[in-house]
């Protein structure tokens, strides 16, 4: 390759890089995926122990209210908020969010991009649309006592979020999204095993995705 040709090649590389950097938030770290997945598995483990060991307390409590004719099909928000499984879910989410935030923060230092700039704001907004709407919808289902479809619902709405987000960050996210969708849909025919599907989707898939992305973009 002669010199001017090499320059043309570099020009094209530069164009491609600038297009990517200006339109996508590229600092999502694979390590964030791995930590989020690990948090999910730990959370699922505690949730499973509670379900097994306290069959006679909170859950049955909720079911009693569910079958109680006076409040048939409805549970109060207070009952729901007081449920131990709900506490685990919140702690898991906060821990996963904070820990993955750290790695993405470090990555943004390395790639020299703003953590809260136009691209990350656009990404956050597009992730939020299916997540918030999904959250409200699932909340309504819980209120009506439809516990069985909550876990598949989480996976499905999360999958849609990721697919929606893929245009605004590293494109590989969309494959993670498709897998979550497939898992969520399969789960609809295995109601009652939600926790296991949940652990595979939010735990195992995140870890595999994280390792793959770390290996591809951050290894050196």
């Amino acid at each position: 390759m002669n010199i001017s040709n090499q320059e043309h090649h570099q020009d094209l590389q530069h164009i491609k890089q600038m297009m990517e950097r200006s339109s996508r938030f590229i600092s999502l770290s694979g390590l964030s995926g791995i930590t989020a997945g690990t948090c999910a598995l730990v959370g699922a483990y505690f949730a499973r122990n509670i379900i097994i060991s306290s069959k006679d307390t909170e859950l049955i409590d909720l079911n009693d209210k569910f079958y109680d004719t006076s409040s048939y099909g409805k549970i109060s928000i207070v009952d729901f908020m007081g449920n131990k499984l709900f506490h685990i879910a919140i702690i898991t989410f906060v821990a996963a969010f904070c820990l993955s935030f750290i790695f993405t923060y470090l990555r943004s230092k390395k790639t020299n991009t703003q953590l809260w700039g136009t691209t990350s704001r656009r990404l956050a907004f597009n992730v939020m649309i299916p997540m918030v709407v999904g959250g409200i919808y699932l909340f309504k289902l819980i209120q009506n006592g439809e516990y069985g479809v909550i876990a598949p619902g989480c996976l499905i709405f999360y999958g849609l979020s990721l697919i929606n987000a893929a245009k605004y960050t590293l494109g590989e996210v969309k494959y993670l999204g498709y897998l979550q969708l497939i898992l969520g849909v399969i789960n609809l025919w295995f109601i009652g095993y939600g926790l296991y599907f949940w652990a595979i989707g939010f735990g195992v898939l995140h870890i595999i995705y994280g390792i793959f992305m770390w290996n591809k973009y951050e290894r050196n």
Binding site: H8, H14, S22, T113, T118
Partner: protein
């Protein structure tokens, strides 16, 4: 025809190339985001923006966010066309020499 004639002199610079690339994939971008993307000084960026504006390849929109001025830039139709031609010319040159 020698494809070198299709290379656009206006884009014969990494910064202007960067500005146009970013404007091709975004509806509009403000001054500070461009500055962060390209990692250059205000003066340097302003002069290249002026160059592209004079060529008719980008348009400036002045607006406000609250009281602060917010100047955004967008590619014009002519700019998009010229930039696409430039990319095609670059690709052609590389392919021809293989």
């Amino acid at each position: 025809m020698n494809p070198i004639q299709n290379l656009n002199k206006t884009f014969d610079n990494r910064i202007r190339l960067g500005i146009m690339s970013a404007l091709m994939v975004n509806d509009d971008i403000n001054f500070n985001d461009l500055k962060e993307l390209l990692q250059i000084t205000d003066g340097n960026l302003a002069s290249h923006i002026k160059g592209l504006e004079d060529a008719g390849y980008i348009k400036v929109q002045k607006g406000f966010i609250g009281r602060k001025t917010n100047t955004t830039y967008a590619a014009t139709k002519a700019g998009e066309k010229a930039f696409k031609q430039h990319i095609e010319a670059l690709e052609q040159m590389i392919n021809n020499s293989k």
